[in-house]
């Protein structure tokens, strides 16, 4: 009896968290699963009719936005990886006593709301602004061209907003990399580039994995960047869901799209982790 009670203690510790998950995650989730198979219209209200065709209809109707979301999120993640790896490498290996300061610089944008930060980019890239006129001057942008309302502006905005999510996990895995392993590689006849390829990169894989997921997942569902830096031609699935929930009030379509997105991302992660070999990852981490 006494022993059983002792076994319960860890569950007591977990209780607040479990309750939180139940109330704010599981219940809304189940509720929205229900909503996603309802039918009706905004005036008359919606009834649970198990109309699974909501899913196929929504996917058919909004396939361009779904595709665009994946492409934009993928492009932004690749750009972030390209920027964040050298940056994290520099902070972890070369920054010395500036480490703390530079890490603060990386997370500093978080001190401001994402919407405000994106609005600032809107101002920077505005059609009559300095940046655009300079770009026109050197011929990158045509005379009638603009930067806003292009895929580049939206992808750039997403890449900018999620960069810290890539830098921090990469930094964490590079920072704890034992420098003697790189020395050992060069001792065993590896040139610096080979040592980087054969030792540094594989050991940074947990960081690459975590960073890519932290960028890609929220980027896929992002709607702020497309709304502020793009036009309806750049709308992503997040914009569609938002409009259907808040403007059109077509709750079933919005919910169905949300769950489709969740499913898509879960499948994507499984493939990704299979490719990178998460078993190896956890072994390296441990």
């Amino acid at each position: 009896m006494f022993r059983d009670r002792r076994k319960l203690i860890p569950w007591y510790f977990a209780l607040p968290g479990l309750l939180w998950l139940l109330v704010f995650f599981l219940l809304p989730l189940v509720n929205q699963v229900g909503v996603s198979v309802m039918s009706g219209d905004p005036e008359a209200g919606y009834d649970l009719t198990w109309s699974f065709s909501n899913y196929s209809d929504a996917i058919d109707q909004y396939w361009p936005q779904i595709e665009r979301s994946l492409v934009y999120a993928f492009a932004a993640t690749v750009i972030d990886l390209a920027i964040a790896f050298p940056l994290a490498y520099f902070i972890a290996f070369k920054a010395g006593r500036w480490k703390g300061f530079l890490l603060l610089m990386v997370v500093l944008p978080f001190f401001m709301s994402q919407v405000l930060r994106t609005v600032s980019w809107q101002l920077i890239l505005t059609d009559n602004g300095w940046v655009v006129s300079q770009l026109k001057g050197i011929g990158i942008v045509g005379d009638e061209g603009r930067v806003l309302a292009t895929s580049w502006a939206v992808i750039g905005g997403i890449a900018y907003n999620y960069l810290p999510f890539m830098v921090l996990p990469l930094y964490a895995s590079l920072d704890r990399l034992d420098r003697r392993l790189i020395e050992a590689a060069t001792d065993l006849y590896a040139s610096r580039p080979t040592a980087f390829r054969k030792v540094t990169i594989p050991l940074a894989t947990p960081g690459i994995f975590a960073g890519s997921l932290l960028c890609f997942i929220p980027a896929t569902g992002d709607f702020v960047n497309a709304a502020l830096l793009g036009s309806s031609k750049q709308y992503m699935i997040g914009n569609v869901i938002q409009t259907n929930f808040l403007t059109v009030l077509d709750y079933p379509t919005a919910a169905a799209l949300s769950f489709f997105l969740i499913g898509l991302i879960l499948v994507g992660i499984s493939i990704y982790s299979a490719l990178l070999g998460t078993k190896n990852l956890t072994e390296v981490a441990g």
Partner: protein, 382 residues
């Protein structure tokens, strides 16, 4: 370990002559290695021994190419390697705590060096497997290093380095992380591997016993310089400096001056005027700050009452016992001489009817054979 796999049929004679020519290493204003010149003969098991911060690891890392000398040159088998990167040097290192690649299997770790040198795939596989078998770890080839015990990891590190058939093997405190029992076992094993492969081993350690067990030549380092290099027996019997006398075993040192010499024997006078004799060939210096010394186990300790029949003994001092400790094989007495010097005397517990130990406060006479006396230079730090 069987010799077949680790030894190289191609290498008949010993290789791995390492020469430092006036090497200095500075980090900013701090001089870590100060005008170091040394030659390590091919095939030697050479230990760099010293306290932390003495420059022994930096010396080793300059051979490996992980640090470059600020001044001077380093030669490996006659070729100037001073500024070559590590991957261009025919030496391999067993790192402190091994530095095995955690993302690769044990076998892949051992294959790493051979793969980089463009050895054929089948050949790489065969030699790596042989090397693992040689350290009796063939059955663990597909494990990750983290799944191995410390001693096993040490053996993998050894196989990973030796499989490349380097001209010299560098060992950076390779046994530091292991417990005493395993350390003793691996000391013997590494020594045996050295005899089998016949290349130069350079071994960095702060453990004097380890250095004495394994090395042919021990270089005692202090403050970026080699104080003295020689066999364990040389260093123990005829230390040149007070630092060596104290770092390798225990020594009783008394400040003294040389007062005269008659060929074979040199007479020294301690700071309070006692005259002692030392063999002239064991007098490392005759000028500057000197100390006369004797090892604790060479000193006889006598009860003052027995003094009557001790007329012939030379090199006598009077003292008083301040403390004693029973160490099993021996008794260790700490005594204070009339002049206030603290000395140590160890007495083997091998007498048939061992007399009861001397109590604290007992007035005793110390004496030792003059041939066991040595004179050393006293440096800035003892």
């Amino acid at each position: 370990m069987s010799s077949a796999a680790v030894t190289t049929p191609g290498i008949a004679s010993a290789t791995g002559e390492i020469r430092f020519d006036a090497v200095t290493k500075r980090y900013g204003e701090v001089t870590v290695i100060d005008d170091l010149s040394l030659t390590i003969e091919p095939g030697t098991f050479y230990a760099l021994l010293g306290p932390s911060g003495c420059g022994k690891t930096t010396t080793l890392r300059m051979v490996g190419g992980f640090e470059l000398p600020t001044e001077g040159n380093i030669y490996l088998d006659g070729a100037d390697v001073s500024h070559l990167p590590p991957n261009k040097r025919d030496v391999n290192t067993v790192f402190q705590s091994y530095a095995l690649f955690p993302h690769l299997t044990v076998l892949k770790n051992v294959m790493f060096g051979l793969e980089r040198r463009g050895v054929g795939k089948a050949e790489v596989q065969r030699r790596a497997t042989e090397a693992l078998d040689a350290v009796e770890l063939g059955h663990l080839a597909e494990r990750k290093p983290t799944a191995l015990s410390g001693g096993q990891q040490q053996r993998v590190a050894l196989a990973r380095a030796l499989v490349n058939r380097p001209h010299a093997l560098l060992l950076d405190e390779p046994l530091g992380a292991l417990d005493l029992r395993l350390r003793r076992q691996l000391q013997v094993e590494i020594k045996r591997v050295h005899a089998e492969v016949g290349i130069t081993f350079v071994h960095v350690t702060h453990d004097q016993e380890e250095a004495m067990t394994m090395a042919d030549v021990i270089a005692v380092m202090n403050r970026g310089r080699i104080e003295q290099a020689g066999s364990a027996r040389d260093l123990y019997d005829t230390p040149q400096t007070a630092f060596v006398a104290n770092f390798l075993g225990q020594s009783n040192l008394i400040d003294a001056t040389v007062t005269g010499t008659d060929g074979e024997w040199t007479v020294v006078q301690t700071h309070d005027g006692v005259k002692l004799k030392a063999p002239t060939d064991r007098v490392a210096a005759t000028t500057g700050k000197l100390a006369v010394g004797v090892r604790p186990e060479k000193v006889w300790i006598w009860d003052r009452i027995e003094e009557a029949d001790a007329g012939e003994r030379e090199n006598k001092l009077t003292a008083r016992v301040t403390s004693s400790a029973f160490l099993g094989v021996s008794m260790e007495y700490r005594v204070e001489t009339a002049a206030g010097d603290e000395l140590i005397v160890t007495v083997q517990n091998n007498r048939r009817n061992a007399s009861p130990p001397y109590a604290n406060g007992t007035e005793v006479e110390l004496s030792w054979a003059p041939e066991h006396t040595f004179v050393v230079a006293v440096g800035a730090d003892v």
